[in-house]
């Protein structure tokens, strides 16, 4: 039935003016003229992270969603410009603290490419194990956030309990639960002996066993399926057009995974598949990430099975440096001598890594003279798929905003960097 709109002089509520919102005043007037109204979701809202979404709502249907990111922007790229190359490692783990190995790996691979350091095999395998552990941790973290967004508190508690196992593995390997800054140019800081490795292997089976409970109570729960099925659909073309990355791109049917494309560390030596779904709705995004956990588990088992013996710090670091200890299995004592005056040659190196939430890009530009980077560019996955996330909100119900937010696993600190 045709909507009759009477031309009543409407001026938007006074509270919108003092708030700095990144939309032109005419847009606000136009919204209120069409008797739609603006709901500001966030930045301090139980249902959205530290990001404000300006939702233009017509009744219960979302007409338009404008993101207002930047609340947790820590200007990491600027901070990186006055720190040594090695001192940037703890900085670049902080965007997504659970996914620290992947973020750390991206930055270190950029340095290694610039200095073309040869990383020993064992270090590659250990790095890959840590990266996969952090991937599972992030997938579980986002599954929990999705569960609590649609009200399933048990769905929140189970993944966080399972994540405790992953943190236990990381503590045994690196000494710290997650932001381990363990990966250094040329390898990793310490070797992980076999007792730790078979603890990790047993942990993978325990994670799988506990995931069955989580699957029965949340993943296959009919209420969850009802809430997530056909919600926030992104077709294949739309996903590509809006530049969605990672599991959310694979959920819309595009089979693209940087680990297969680049084959960095030792991913090309193990056999695992890329998980793809083609509905592109909230539920398939969630299922893709759940199946990726299984893929990661079997990557870890294969890696532990075939990990070669040998040293974990590459020899070309020790060459023209009088380091205090020359032990290729443990960096202790020689950390400063090897890395303090690390200078990258003039030029620019770029690396792509598959972080848990998608494509992660690092570009280091060095002026060849100073021991601090001239410019470091980091584009995190959250920032790349923010547009796709906002487009998928269009036409959905306001109550579904949280479900789609959770299915995208949007993480403001990572997107704002």
């Amino acid at each position: 039935m045709k909507e009759i709109s009477i031309d009543v002089p409407v001026e938007p509520p006074a509270e919108l003016k003092p708030l700095f919102i990144p939309i032109p005043p005419e847009y606000v007037e136009d919204a209120y003229k069409k008797d739609e109204y603006l709901v500001l979701v966030g930045p301090q809202h139980p249902g959205s992270g530290h990001m404000r979404i300006i939702v233009r709502v017509d009744g219960d249907v979302i007409v338009d969603a404008i993101p207002d990111p930047g609340y947790v922007h820590r200007s990491m790229e600027k901070l990186a410009e006055n720190r040594l190359y090695i001192q940037n490692i703890p900085l670049f783990e902080r965007p997504a603290i659970m996914d620290n190995a992947n973020f750390n790996l991206g930055y270190i691979r950029a340095i290694e490419e610039a200095l073309d350091i040869e990383v020993p095999e064992r270090a590659k395998y250990l790095r890959m194990i840590m990266a996969e552990l952090c991937r599972i941790g992030t997938h579980l973290y986002d599954a929990a956030i999705l569960a609590v967004f649609i009200g399933h508190t048990t769905g929140f508690m189970y993944p966080f309990a399972i994540r405790e196992l992953i943190c236990e593995c990381l503590v045994k390997m690196t000494g710290v639960r997650f932001t381990s800054s363990f990966i250094i140019p040329g390898g990793i800081r310490r070797d992980a002996d076999n007792s730790v490795l078979d603890f990790v292997k047993k942990a993978t089976f325990e994670i799988e066993r506990r995931l069955k409970n989580f699957e029965k109570i949340f993943i296959k729960n009919p209420a969850t399926i009802a809430r997530l099925k056909d919600v926030g659909v992104l077709s294949k073309e739309e996903a590509i057009k809006y530049g969605v990355v990672g599991p959310f791109l694979r959920a819309s049917g595009v089979e693209y995974d940087v680990r297969k494309v680049e084959g960095y560390e030792a991913y090309d030596e193990l056999d695992w598949e890329i998980v793809v779904a083609d509905e592109g709705d909230g539920y398939s995004r969630f299922l893709v990430r759940v199946n990726e956990i299984n893929q990661s588990l079997n990557i870890i088992r294969q890696a532990i099975g075939r990990i070669p013996e040998g040293d974990v710090i590459s020899q070309d670091l020790f060459e023209n440096v009088n380091a205090n200890t020359k032990n290729p299995k443990d960096i202790r004592g020689a950390f400063y001598d090897l890395f303090a005056n690390l200078k990258l040659p003039l030029g620019e190196t770029t690396t792509l890594t598959e972080a848990a939430r998608g494509l992660l890009l690092y570009t280091i530009i060095s002026d060849g003279e100073s021991n601090v980077p001239y410019r470091v560019r980091i584009v995190s996955p959250g920032w790349l798929y923010l547009r796709g996330f906002m487009e998928s909100l269009r036409g959905e119900r306001l109550a579904d905003l949280q479900a789609i937010y959770g299915s995208f696993g949007y993480f403001p600190p990572e997107a704002d960097r």
């Binding site: 720190r83 040594l84 090695i86 001192q87 940037n88 490692i89 703890p90 900085l91 048990t154 309990a161 196992l165 503590v171 045994k172 690196t174 000494g175 710290v176 932001t179 800054s181 310490r190 603890f199 047993k202 942990a203 089976f205 325990e206 066993r209 506990r210 409970n213 029965k216 109570i217 296959k220 729960n221 009919p222 399926i225 099925k229 598949e273 890329i274 998980v275 793809v276 779904a277 083609d278 539920y283 398939s284 299922l287 199946n291 893929q295 009088n322 380091a323 205090n324 200890t325 020359k326 032990n327 443990d330 960096i331 202790r332 004592g333 950390f335 400063y336 001598d337 890395f339 303090a340």
Partner: protein, 239 residues
């Protein structure tokens, strides 16, 4: 690998409900709890855990490496009889770059992670407060360890774990500073001035300034090599 299709016909829905309720009831009867009741139980941490940092004064050669490498500028060198590190825990992110950089393992890690300070300036732990561990109030009687064989068991043992880890020092390649191109030297004796172990002595004999390095006193910290404006000195391996 394709994600399998999800069918939503009534039968699968009912099975879904039954499964969900069965998991809920099963867990209600026999929960697989992993909670550790923290103050009364403490979780066993591995020996390489990165906690509070302790310092051993007589091993330190005050080479400033820890202060230079700290990403958070948390380490400040304080002058006692020589320069020793003091850590400002309001800045420290416990990345242990300093512990890994210390050539003589004067900085050691411990398993103490639950540290409380009354106010901000107490967080600046001076050198003499870093030597022996802080006063620990230990309420925990049980140590819980994560053990997995067929499934995860939280093994609870009635013992109080010692949080101070004894770290065997790194076997260090001895270095000492030596003059490799004497003709560069301009006799400014900055190296003697900066040497913490005052191993470099300066004398003026008949119109000549004579510098000499006492090899046994020199600890190989490398400060003189960095300070010299004309690249005269360099570290040489003790053979």
């Amino acid at each position: 690998m394709k994600v399998e299709k999800v069918e939503i016909d009534p039968i699968s829905r009912i099975i879904g409900h039954i499964n969900a309720i069965s998991v809920g009831v099963k867990q209600a009867i026999k929960p697989e709890r992993i909670t550790v009741e923290y103050p009364r139980e403490r979780r066993k941490l591995p020996d390489n855990f990165r906690g509070l940092i302790l310092f051993e004064k007589d091993r330190c050669i005050s080479c400033f490496r820890c202060a230079f490498i700290c990403p958070a500028n948390a380490i400040q060198m304080e002058l006692y009889d020589n320069y020793y590190p003091s850590i400002d825990y309001s800045k420290c992110i416990l990345c242990h770059f300093c512990v890994d950089s210390c050539p003589t393992t004067a900085l050691k890690q411990t398993k103490i992670h639950d540290v409380a300070f009354r106010d901000l300036d107490e967080m600046v732990v001076h050198t003499d407060e870093m030597i022996n561990p802080p006063k620990l109030v230990r309420e925990d009687k049980i140590t819980v360890e994560y053990k997995i064989d067929r499934e995860l068991i939280l093994e609870r043992r009635k013992e109080v774990e010692n949080l101070i880890v004894d770290v065997e020092p790194v076997e260090r390649i001895g270095y000492h500073s030596a003059c490799v191109n004497p003709q560069n030297c301009i006799g400014c004796a900055l190296c003697a001035r900066v040497c913490p172990a005052n191993a470099i002595s300066v004398k003026t004999e008949d119109e000549k300034r004579v510098l000499s390095i006492d090899v046994d006193k020199c600890t190989g910290c490398g400060l003189c090599v960095r300070e010299c404006p004309t690249k005269t000195l360099s570290l040489v391996e003790v053979v």
